[in-house]
Symmetry: none
Subunit: 222 residues, 4 copies
DNA sequence: AATGAATGAGTTTTCATTCAT
DNA sequence: CATGAATGAAAACTCATTCAT
């Protein structure tokens, strides 16, 4: 805790304050309260509230980008399952849900704020390229049949992002029944993506790694 | 224009103000400026800002629900194409994009506001039921193969909602190439849904109506 | 009192607050305290502190200009004595001293603020023209010998303004002895101007009206 | 440069900061920015901002007093021309104008601040005594006719100070025409003082040194 | 029904000052 | 000596809400 740099402390405080208050109602005082620092100190490090929030978004997205990029040593079929599995939010993932909610609020500020919009663009680019590259690699490796990798990636991401948005905005009550189990919206969507989008394009003799195992693996890493 | 009731005028003003300022920065003065009325009058009709916004969201979703529900006299394969086609946003649809952006901002307020959350729930329920019902009707009518209608609907909606969110937050620059044409994110996603999700579950001898024609038809209605 | 308009009340409050605090230390709260209104109301009537102060300066100078301009029906020798007599500040003139002190502070803001500078220019122009015109009229009427009216006016005003500045910044302690009486700096300077600058340029047979009588007259008017 | 003591550096920084920002808007940070030192260091040397500014004013006035006092070995008629010539500000004298503007702002703080007022008094005393003494010396030496030296000095200084105030607050645009040349307000006033106040009191056979030559001489010294 | 005037509570931001190093 | 970090108090300004008319 106390070995965090001040900047890290502030970023943590922004994150906590966003989770408690939401973006629209967020005040500098809220952030100061979450850190153990004064409002003045926030202004000492960041000239304006906007500067602070832009810095926060930057750090957020940079972290996110790093998480997306890892595990690139795996075969394509594992990487694509990894990719989609990372979108699964369990009801216990309070922090991650809050994080994505905050991100969603900032995303909706994009059209009103150039600096935010640029950051979002950068990050979106990476997300789509990553998914597209994995699929393209899979085609080249003979794991997937020949499909338009870019468009398949676009569909994938739309579904994953949409499921996540719905889950975090509507709450976990919003579940989907599968074989008697109640799945979160993201979990159910990942299952559907695997069975209705990715399995149909698998080459003969190929199979996807187990989602269950992949989720367990990701859990272990975290 | 002038035969609008005051309430209608106010609702229009809220909509306009949201489009100009976004939810986070929206003030009562902004709304008053968009109407030709005074701030005081807004308070005369709605006790608090929250009351006004909840009323606005209610009206918004009610309108939306009515639009979803219509054309129920059509056969299932037409109704499902109708359903997905309604999500397509062209670059010219400035107003609708702004509308959905405002809605997105309000959606992200759900977790912080019970009254907003309830409304969102109600509307989401309807959306998923509608899609599920159309697919279930199609199965019963022998147009679709037997699939889990609820889960397919969930995937559909996740993808449609996600595509729309990405399009409105990232701007129309964010396009997807198809056969040399540049499609908006929503349009491309609808195409993918049709070819990768709906066509594969069509019964033999069955086909989907043309998206092009359906879009033209919806356009005519509006 | 209570029949003042709100704007008048605010202007009075600015004046009072300036006298108590000086320009450099003046806050909106100070002004609100002097009026019986809230800070918010000041912002309701004037968007910014600068707007308020510019409006105040405008009113100040406009009033001042009107005072300068009056009594224009008199002969030139009376008008010039009037003109210089108006600069005399007695030790009892607390309000007027405070007023000119506030004005002095605002004058020193001119180089930093375009809007203030413009107002000062306007007013200065008038002051010099008025003095110059009186002298020119006097020359034409044969009351004064032929001198450069513009330059004589410049000297006159420099001395009058300088004397006033010294009196208000250094306090009334700063007096000048004349025939056993202690005169304020402005009073002494006016006497000197009359005897050393104006009397020497009087045409033969002409004389200046009594300062004493003129001061009494101005007093009666006020 | 680097052989300045820290105190000298700080005084220079105060002067620079005053010229850039004016007294009313001056902050400790502004001063720190002009020096290459930190805000903290300013407080290490001067407990409070007021202490610093009072010290600055003290140094300012002390310097000024020394300049007034010099050249006391000259004959009275040269010394009085010297005295008035020192008030001339050419349009090129940016620094001196800024300096006097800062001083003017501090002068207008006198009524609100005892420590500042005392300093101003001290300095004003000296100024008037110096002028009075030169004239008294001139009378004794038979250069000037017998006049009230104190009162003539008061008029002189009022005019000189007033001209300077007007010139620095209204800008150099505020010129006065003389024989086709545009003179600054201070220059024109000095000319008028020489011809209308000092020359009339010269004893027979006496004449004043040339202003032109005196200005050149002062320039050389600086 | 409608509004201009008014305000209190709160927002971002500023700034002189302090303190640990 | 010197500084970066930190803060409390107060600054300008905002805004939902109220009230008299």
């Amino acid at each position: 805790m106390s070995d965090e740099t001040v900047d890290e402390q502030i970023m943590t405080a922004v994150s906590d304050a966003l989770q408690s208050n939401g973006y629209a109602a967020l005040t500098m005082q809220d952030i100061a309260d979450e850190s153990e620092k004064s409002k003045s100190l926030l202004h000492y490090h960041y000239d304006t509230k906007e500067d602070l929030l832009v810095a926060f978004l930057d750090q957020l997205l940079t972290d996110y980008e790093q998480r997306i990029a890892c595990r690139s040593d795996q075969p394509p079929e594992q990487r694509i399952v990894d990719f989609v599995a990372r979108f699964v939010l369990t009801p216990e993932d309070d922090d991650r849900a809050a994080f994505h909610l905050a991100l969603l609020e900032m995303r909706s500020q994009g059209p009103f704020n150039d600096r935010i919009r640029e950051q979002l663009h950068r990050s979106d680019q990476l997300l789509r390229e990553t998914a597209g590259d994995i699929i393209a690699d899979g085609i080249e490796a003979g794991v997937f049949e020949t499909v338009n990798s870019e468009r398949t990636a676009a569909l994938l991401i739309a579904a994953l992002d949409g499921a996540r948005t719905r889950q975090i905005t509507l709450g976990d009550a919003n579940t989907i029944a599968l074989d008697g189990m109640e799945l979160t919206y993201t979990r159910a969507t990942v299952e559907e993506i695997l069975s209705q989008i990715l399995e149909p394009i698998l080459a003969e003799e190929c199979s996807l790694p187990s989602l269950e195992a992949t989720l367990a693996e990701l859990d272990r890493e975290a």
